[in-house]
Symmetry: C2
Subunit: 473 residues, 2 copies
């Protein structure tokens, strides 16, 4: 177990010599810096926060902290869901949210270079103006790109375009020692030693501080259309997913949702778009999918083929959203799931397991049986195309301790089931401090030993983001 | 520096208790086991070779070797080009080439599980019969999949479909300690701790022994067409590449070749397909590209658009190969480059740098200026779509020592130039024992220290494949 030192007034003076008035202590520290979007895992303010502005500043600060064994935690927009940016050991918080420049485009090589604090939606909009798309599309559009890379964020379009990992070409990293390194290059393939680039992706700020990113772009598709497909029950709905994928249809997004979460979300929005029944029969589940193309004319045969396939597979109907307004309405309910849940819920926890696509229905039936005995409400939705499920446990009347204990029992079973079905603990949210025990149980002690060993190679004094991913405090 | 012990008769008896008659010593060892396809980096026979057949056997053998500090090297088909499978420290050679079962398909989840000794072309043919494609397509079709994963092999189709890394979902690995672990899962996205899966990919048999692989498949495209596009000079040829990629054309393969290598390859084949001149002007360079589609009708507008773009960009002509025979002929010359060079050459070395696509012409002009002063012949070709270049140094009349010295001078300059242009040492062949110094110069001491640290975490006694990638003996 690493021993840390306290931040002394002398060290604060040293930080001020580097970052001036961007160093804050005591009551000047932004209270948001104590938490992310899932405070149930614990909150704590840092002893010092520093709004860093450059690679060199980060390097100078890390050198001081490493020499003095001061814990350091990096924070972007704070939109995480597993407590990864919470400075639970105190010490220094590096706020990279102000490093928000889009530095340069190199469109002949299909890359853009950005600082880590650029928001996902800022890059998406800016690159679209140039005719390019940054494909990763997590539900949270106001996350920093540094955070997206640190969690290997996935999102709606992963089924066609892959996760963030597939769009990171290179990065500049400040190691916990303060050394500045570059991983990767503006090339699309490489076999040049161990992929330290891929090790950094998804490491949740525990191995180094990302200070610059070179990301891949693709020419933006020219047309999209969405389909809302109601089914009588979840099994038929989920069994349809492989059929869509096997028939060359390549949806850009392929989401499923159960009846109850759609109703709850539409109540939150005050607008109903999804049909609740068909020919007198209740709708039990929906697929919402989007197809894109470089050519508008190619979409019509795709829609026809998709309609044939899903109706053959037992869909009740197919609703086509082919104008920007209709597409926006169809996705509004999906996009508001978390917001709706948050507004309606006092106590909230969640998991985002990923299972093989064919096991989604199996898994959800199991979750639904657990709900009855849990004492709280369970809300589920997810990415049908890639088996990534978001399961929210919600209570408005339990005591915090009781809720936490019940959730722990529930989560233990849920993660064990996901592991048994060949899945993994997190599809896109990460491990942070909230999920270490579940990760450990799922992967086993040898995997965890390797991860902690890797952590130690990058961070010999274990000062960077202690208590996260594989290293419990 | 690790100290190794010799293989004693007692240890050989222990190996025989595990693998019986599949243990060979002395003259019974296959002489091929001393080398791969590029023997210029050095050759050596192991003290013992063992044809392993299962994960459990590999585990039992690794435990013995780890306890006794016996070096172990893993070999598949031996088609590597950087000496990665040469047992330069002697000891035990594990031959995984006989673990060649395709274990199971799970087509609803788009994966196949194989043993590491299955050959690339075996999987490609077998999955195609089921209507699926395994996209990675390195020039060497008789490589083992275990080797492909260990080098993150790229190949012709990487420009559209990515490299091997993008198709590995999970693997079973025996660590140097003999422990058996599983990395990854049958899921397309995950954020569940450090990606040890991605660390294994491209690690060239230095971190663990791959004994099972779960690989991603995609529905096979239904139609392909190839274009041969002659240009007066290399600059115009290379400058055309981004224009093809930016215009939504998504070629499956996009190769360039200079005049001299086409002529040399066609002489080797005894068949000329590529036009040598157009309207009385010599052709200086060619693009050879293939487009695929899930719908034959969609290919015609793609070909028309491609033709418009390349002619506008300065192509001399566009030749369409739209029947299987014509496509095969067009690719025969490309596929025979290495074979042709090998047949015509006594002393051979090569590099496979990768540079940003826009720097290909720049880089090749530099290489061509070096040829004049080198005293040997230089032959180049490569993947225009991803900047991965294969540069062969060939001599029939130099003494070995002189050749090696001249090549060393040449390679040093070539790798320095690639690094200066933002490239990397290897696009797909790897580092092995032939390229460690160049990797070290290109990445710098901090990157190398991290890699050696990671190696040490996986392999505390440094017994697995010593002298490769990041760990010099």
């Amino acid at each position: 177990m690493a021993q840390y030192n306290s931040v002394t007034p002398e060290l604060i003076e040293k930080f001020k010599a580097i970052a001036g008035s961007r160093v804050a202590t005591g009551e000047d520290i932004n209270p948001d810096f104590a938490r992310d979007e899932m405070p149930i895992y614990g909150t704590r303010l840092p002893d010092v926060s520093i709004d860093v502005m450059s690679t060199e500043e980060v390097s100078a600060i890390m050198k001081i902290c490493n020499e003095n064994k001061i814990p350091v935690t990096v924070r972007g927009a704070g939109t995480g869901l597993v407590g990864a940016c919470v400075p639970i050991a105190g010490g220094v918080l590096l706020n990279t949210a102000k490093m928000k420049k889009i530095l340069s485009y190199d469109l002949e090589n299909f890359v853009v270079t950005v600082q880590p604090g650029v928001l996902l939606n800022e890059l998406a909009e800016d690159s679209l103006k140039k005719g390019y798309m940054y494909p990763p599309d997590p539900g949270e559009k106001f996350a920093c790109l540094g955070g997206n890379v640190s969690t290997n964020a996935g999102g709606m379009r992963a089924v066609k375009y892959g996760a963030t990992r597939d769009y990171v070409r290179a990065m500049t990293v400040v190691l916990p020692t303060g050394e500045i390194v570059k991983f990767g290059a503006t090339v699309s393939k490489t076999s040049s030693g161990y992929s330290l680039l891929n090790l950094m992706i998804g490491s949740e700020g525990t191995l180094g501080v990302i200070t610059e990113l070179t990301l891949k772009l693709i020419p933006a598709p020219v047309a999209t259309v969405s389909l809302v497909i109601p089914f009588a029950d979840l099994d038929t709905c989920i069994a349809t997913v492989p059929k869509i994928l096997q028939n060359h249809l390549k949806p850009q997004a392929l989401e499923f949702m159960e009846r109850k979460i759609v109703i709850s979300s539409e109540e939150f929005l005050g607008k109903a778009v999804f049909p609740r029944s068909f020919n007198g029969e209740d709708v039990g589940a929906y697929i919402l999918c989007t197809f894109d193309s470089d050519n508008r004319d190619e979409l019509d045969p795709i829609i026809e083929k998709a309609a044939d396939i899903v109706l053959e597979a037992g869909a009740m109907d197919v609703l086509v959203a082919d104008t920007p307004d209709k597409i926006r309405d169809a996705w509004a309910a999906r996009s508001s799931f978390l917001e709706g849940i948050e507004e309606q819920t006092k106590l909230l926890d969640e998991c985002d397991v990923v299972v093989p696509v064919t096991e989604i229905a199996n898994f959800l039936h199991y979750v639904n049986t657990l709900e009855a005995e849990s004492g709280f409400k369970v809300q589920s939705f997810g990415h049908a195309g890639d088996g990534n499920l978001h399961i929210y446990t919600c209570s408005n009347d339990m005591e915090l301790d009781v809720f936490k204990a019940h959730v722990a029992t529930f989560m233990e079973k849920v993660y064990a089931k996901a592991t048994e079905l060949g899945g993994q603990i997190s599809g896109e949210h990460g491990i942070g401090m909230g999920k270490i025990d579940y990760l450990s149980k799922s992967l086993g002690p040898v995997n965890m030993r390797l991860m902690e060993g890797v952590k130690n190679v990058f961070d010999p004094n274990m000062i960077l983001n202690p208590g996260k991913v594989c290293y419990k405090m």
